[in-house]
């Protein structure tokens, strides 16, 4: 199997991911006291999970190499990045510039992430969503969210 094809295997990446997480669990066994079966320390359970994860990950990894199966489909990078940037922008601006600014940033950034971005439509959506969110969450449920800067 060519390297390029191997790199498209779902199992190849899934196996690697599980083994990496398993290594973290085993690392927990090294960092924290493992103890005995009768008197378990904080490291006992994470280490056991880590070992299981590494084993299962290895099986999945080998399956990816020996028996090529489903391939990873194309990543939707643009929506993913814009959505995440939107959430982070909301987090960054909320307590500083207030909910209206933060929510507007979130809705516009995520709106641009979609395939059918229509500026006027998003403005209307934004006005409606922000107004109703303020009415429901801040006025009716009185959540402590700053509305304005």
């Amino acid at each position: 199997m060519s390297i390029a094809r191997l790199f498209r295997q779902q199992d190849f990446w899934a196996g690697l991911m599980f083994m990496a997480f398993g290594a973290i669990g085993i690392g927990g066994g090294l960092m924290y006291r493992v103890g005995t079966t009768q008197e378990m320390g904080p490291g006992y359970f994470p280490r056991a999970i880590g070992v299981a994860l590494v084993l299962l990950g290895a099986i999945i990894f080998m399956r990816g190499i020996l028996a090529p199966g489903k391939e990873v489909s194309r990543w939707a990078i643009r929506p993913l990045i814009l959505l995440i940037v939107g959430i982070l922008a909301f987090a960054y601006t909320l307590e500083w510039l207030g909910f209206v600014v933060a929510a507007t940033a979130l809705i516009f950034l995520s709106g641009v992430g979609g395939k059918e971005f229509d500026f006027k439509e998003v403005v209307l959506l934004c006005a409606a969503a922000v107004t109703s969110a303020v009415l429901i969450f801040v006025k009716a449920l009185s959540l402590p969210i700053p509305v304005w800067p």
Binding site: Q10, A14, M17, F18, F21, G22, I24, G25, G28, R33, T37, Q38, E39, M40, G41, P42, F45, P46, I49, A52, L53, L56, G57, I60, R63, V72, S73, W75, A76, P79, L80, L83, I84, G86, I87, L88, F90, A91, L94, E95, A103, L106, I107, S110, G113, G114, K115, E116, F117, D118, V122, L125, C126, A129, A133, F137, L141, L143, P144, I145
Partner: protein, 500 residues
């Protein structure tokens, strides 16, 4: 018998109070809505709404969440019939004959039968819960840590075996969930595990944030990968009432579906999806003319719809009696109960009878509301099908961030939300279904606790789990279940069953 009536009266007192009726109505309406709207499942919705329920009394919170869950089963069948798109995975089979009926101009009868079947199943399943739950809860009061550990093991194994997709992947996802569950302060020793010096992680990963990231955020990204074309039925819905002939054909499938669903729902890992598949297979097998199936046989709508609703309801039995979730939605319910300060388990029934019976009676009330909501208002729901996704997802996203922020009023939680959002999307891309992770995450801390306690009591002797008769039997059941699936011949059949 009179004890049962007393209990139901207690429940009615709670469930039929004006506040709880309003929240129940809100729950089922919302459930129907998300069942109908594409790309928004019950796991994502319930995790989005969890923060709101923190402010409610426990019984009201659970009544609302339960309403969302079974309401979604109803709504899911509406889209299955009208758009040939299952709103929920439990209504996949309804598409086969429901949509075929709709194309013959019989959408009305199909929707009515679905609603009637669901209502009948809901009523029966409520009775099943009311009669079986107390017995099981009494039995479970005797359970010690070893039995609980074994039960949770069985639950996890069953959840994996009955899930679709690769077994090994599902197991690995459970272990990953267990690993996430260890983050935070270890209860026994006070040591901080995997906190990496981040003070916010001392209390562990917040399950609302995690499930919202992994389910809601990544679901949106997956939906944005391609622009979905939705063709809304051009044919008229036709008259709503089924004919006498339709009724005659549907009665027995409804009864059989209800029975199947009630049984499979109790099994850990069972529930709505499996029940509907099983019911369709049974009806097709025993039909006089199996050729009619797939071409608009009303039996193929009636049976599975009864089964999925019955299964959805009886999956509350393990939750309310043993404190063990049989599916990810029930895992979220456990999370909701723990935040309310209620430890799920057999003691709920005696310690909080108004909560226990209130939730059960509310299910019956909720089912009645659903019939009223669904049939006469079907026109309004069809209008909702036309809402384009590009308007929907920014709104969902806004609800998510408000929800996550409101849990602790901390913007750092939103950073964790983004991390889990990316992680959830990666899981989908590399073929790892995220639902088992949630089960592992919720059960993880309990599993560790019971494991430790059982071994302290047995002085480190691991054989305690097998020597104890009850936990030994349960572990044997888990082992048999696992063996059955690993055996190649049966595995092949399982794959065929999921392909059908």
């Amino acid at each position: 018998m009179s004890a049962l009536f007393d209990a139901i009266a207690t429940g009615a007192h709670t469930a039929l109070s004006p506040t709880n009726l309003i929240y129940c109505f809100g729950g089922v309406t919302l459930g129907t809505l998300i069942g109908i709207l594409p790309g928004l499942g019950p796991i994502a919705t319930i995790s989005m709404l969890l923060p709101v329920t923190f402010y409610l009394p426990p019984e009201t919170a659970l009544i609302t969440l339960a309403g969302i869950y079974y309401g979604a089963q109803y709504g899911g069948s509406t889209t299955a019939v009208l758009v040939n798109m299952p709103g929920e995975s439990s209504s996949v089979v309804t598409c086969l004959d429901g949509y075929a009926m709709a194309r013959q101009g019989k959408a009305g009868p199909a929707l009515s039968i679905a609603a009637i079947a669901s209502f009948f199943a809901g009523c029966v399943a409520t009775l099943v819960i009311a009669s079986f739950a107390p017995v099981l809860a009494n039995f479970a009061l005797e359970f010690g840590p070893a039995e609980y550990f074994a039960l949770m093991l069985l639950g996890l194994v069953a959840a994996v075996v009955l899930a679709s997709g690769s077994l090994v992947n599902a197991f690995a996802m459970i272990f990953l969930g267990l690993l996430f569950g260890t983050v935070g302060t270890d209860l026994n020793t006070g040591v901080e595990r995997f906190t990496f010096g981040i003070p916010k992680l001392v209390d562990g990963v917040d399950f609302v944030t995690m499930s919202m990231g992994i389910f809601a955020i990544s679901e949106i990204v997956v939906n944005l990968e391609s622009v979905q074309e939705r063709t809304i039925l051009k044919e008229k819905i036709g008259r709503l009432l089924p004919s006498a002939e339709d009724f005659k054909r549907s009665i027995w499938p409804i009864v059989r579906g209800t029975g199947l669903g009630s049984m499979l729902g109790i099994l850990p890992g069972g529930g709505a999806v499996l029940s509907s598949f099983a019911s369709y297979a049974v009806e097709k097998r025993i039909a006089k003319e199996p050729g009619r199936f797939g071409k608009g046989a009303i039996e193929g709508v009636a049976g599975p719809e009864a089964a999925n609703n019955a299964g959805a309801q009886t999956s509350f039995i393990p939750l309310l009696t043993l404190g063990i979730p049989s599916n990810p939605v029930m895992a979220l319910m456990i999370g909701a109960m723990m935040i309310q300060g209620i430890t799920p388990g057999p003691q709920i029934m005696t310690a909080k009878p108004d909560l226990f019976w209130g939730v059960i009676v509310s299910m019956w009330a909720g089912n009645l509301m659903l019939v009223i909501l669904n049939l006469p208002m079907i026109g309004i729901w069809i209008q909702l099908l036309k809402v384009p996704y590009r308007l929907l997802y920014p709104t969902i996203l806004l609800l998510c961030v408000i929800g996550v922020y409101s849990v602790n009023n901390a913007t750092f939680d939103l950073v964790i939300l983004s991390v889990f959002g990316v992680m959830g999307y990666v899981f989908v891309k590399i073929g790892c279904e995220p639902a088992p992770l949630l089960l592992g995450f919720i059960l993880g801390p309990l599993l560790e606790e019971y494991f430790r306690r059982a071994l302290i009591m047995s002085h480190g002797d691991l054989s305690v789990f097998v020597r104890n008769p009850i936990s030994g039997t349960i572990i044997a059941m888990a082992a048999v279940l696992l063996l059955i699936v690993v055996l190649p011949s049966i595995r092949k059949k399982r794959e065929e069953a999921f392909q059908e």
